[in-house]
């Protein structure tokens, strides 16, 4: 059976959920071989094996943390040359897409970004993408070379599928370009204790109607009652009420959770682009004419300052 390379996104050995989802998709095409780089690379093996990796290629060097993107491209290229895979799958993070793009160019392959589903096809893997602010769904395949495909979070279920997960050292020689862009400083983001926005099963978002940074506390309280991530519309971020890392929309994150709760968000195309593929959508808005209500499974026309705290209390009561 053909091997499929899966690029592992991990933090000091802790594998992030989108990588485990990639393993589910990789198993539809062939045998997953994982590539883990940097500090803690070998520590990823147990989790990867449990979810279907037959092999885990690892390499650690200071270059991965000290320089931007290119050292990882060098390593992934070395893995492609060692394995000759049927496809290369990479998580669709900002960095993942950049790594994938440079790899595709180097190995003479086409690239598909932001796939939301993947299946085996007669002429190679067929990727589903959601385009034009999720108003269209396309199916595409890579026409030349080894398909390089980046996949968005929440595109597949994480499945247990125990495999060998044998750790092998990957031999990597860094290119002259590897040290081109130096990372001279790094400030880790403060943890909020909430799930990662793009990976969360439930997202609770606030928009213009929240009307002030201090009022986001009621959005956060609802999120915490549900174990959800917090999102914000561009209007709320531009106003300085909530950080840009939490922005949902065309120029922010694109999310596809099981449940999306939009509070005080009108639902302009810019926002819809980032949340329209959510499975269930509910909204609270004062304006009955707000376009967000065209998308919802359930909507409440009312003041979010009345409705949201009542909902939070009700959630807490029901969860006991």
């Amino acid at each position: 059976m053909a091997e499929v390379l899966v690029y592992v996104d991990h933090v000091d050995g802790a594998v992030r959920k989108p990588t485990l989802e990639l393993l589910t998709l990789a198993r539809r095409i062939g045998e997953p071989v994982a590539v883990a780089l940097g500090n803690g690379a070998a520590d990823t093996a147990a989790a990867l094996a449990e979810h279907g990796a037959v092999k885990v290629l690892t390499h650690d060097a200071s270059e991965y943390a000290d320089y931007l993107v290119v050292p990882k491209v060098d390593a992934l290229q070395a893995a492609v040359e060692a394995v000759s895979p049927a496809a290369v799958l990479v998580p669709s993070s900002a960095e993942g897409k950049e790594i994938a793009a440079r790899l595709a160019l180097r190995i003479g392959s086409g690239i598909i970004t932001d796939a939301v589903d993947l299946e085996a096809g007669d002429e190679g893997p067929v990727a589903t993408q959601s385009v034009f602010a999720a108003s269209f769904t396309t199916k595409s395949r890579v026409a030349k070379g080894t398909p390089v495909i980046t996949v968005k979070p929440n595109s597949a279920a994480v499945e247990a599928a125990p495999a060998a997960g044998a750790v092998e050292a990957l031999a990597v020689t860094f290119s002259a370009a590897a040290t081109g862009t130096k990372v001279t400083g790094r400030t880790a983001r403060e943890s909020t204790g909430r799930p990662e926005l793009t990976e969360a099963a439930i997202v609770v978002s606030g928009g213009r109607g929240v009307n002030g940074a201090e009022n986001f506390a009621i959005i956060e309280a609802l999120a915490d009652s549900l174990g959800a991530a917090v999102g914000a519309s561009r209007a709320a971020v531009d106003a300085g009420w909530y950080p840009h890392t939490n922005q949902v929309g065309q120029t922010g994150k694109s999310v596809s959770p099981q449940l999306y709760i939009a509070n005080g968000i009108s639902g302009a195309i810019q926002h819809r682009a980032g949340m329209q593929t959510s499975k269930t959508i509910v909204a609270v808005n004062k304006d009955a004419e707000a376009p967000i209500f065209e998308l919802v499974d359930f909507g409440v026309v009312g003041d979010l300052f009345d409705v949201v705290p009542q909902l939070t209390e009700e959630v807490k009561a029901r969860k006991g």
């Binding site: 086409g110 395949r141 026409a143 959508i281 499974d297 909902l311």
Partner: protein, 262 residues
Amino acid sequence: MSLRIVVTVKYVPDATGDRHFADDLTVDRDDVDGLLSELDEYAVEQALQISENSDDDVEVTVLTVGPEDAKDALRKALSMGADKAIHVEDDDLHGTDAIGTSLVLAKAIEKAGFDLVVSGMASTDGTAGIVPALLAERLGVPQVTLLSEVSVEDGTVKGRRDGDAASEQLEASLPAVVSVTDQSGEARYPSFKGIMAAKKKPVQSWDLSDLDIEAEEVGLEGAWTAVEDATPRPVRTAGTIVKDEGEGGKQLAEFLAGQKFI
């Protein structure tokens, strides 16, 4: 010292219009009004700020690849303050994908001459956000991308890249490719004077033969990816809308409980 900045911009269908696909599954660019991609306005803005903050002799060139109408995007950038423009236009480019576009842009950038390439974080139609990385790979220069803050001094570009897990300070020597996000600073509106001045600024037109690119390397036939199917997303079935009469939060909780979210 001189500093040659090339800003890559894209002419895109208006996101508020009815964007759709043509019969050959390429993006229909005829039926929907086009404009300079909003995210590229930030690139033009940062290039102009680098120019204004520099003691060097800086020239800002805007470059686009696209059909005749794409000149509108160049005009907008020129009216914001760019010095000159290059338009790569060729019928054989129809259907070119990101890998092909990066080839055309890279050849044009090399022909124009550059010390710094500034791009937006992504286009508002394709949204992949990979062209800046592809340009760095093709041009063989450092990639300093997704910057919320950028500065150039003494042949070095510095910037701040805000990722999900951390915020990173980056540094590279020129020549380099940078891309900037929508957090890099609001783009200026063209002034009346700027709009008038733009009419007199030079717009050069190149075709594929000017760039030594064969037709087979680009276009729909030369594309590295094939779109096999495009279907409109099914319209969401109308949901239940209630007016809050004091019980709105409870009604919403009832719905969520019914869906097993609580």
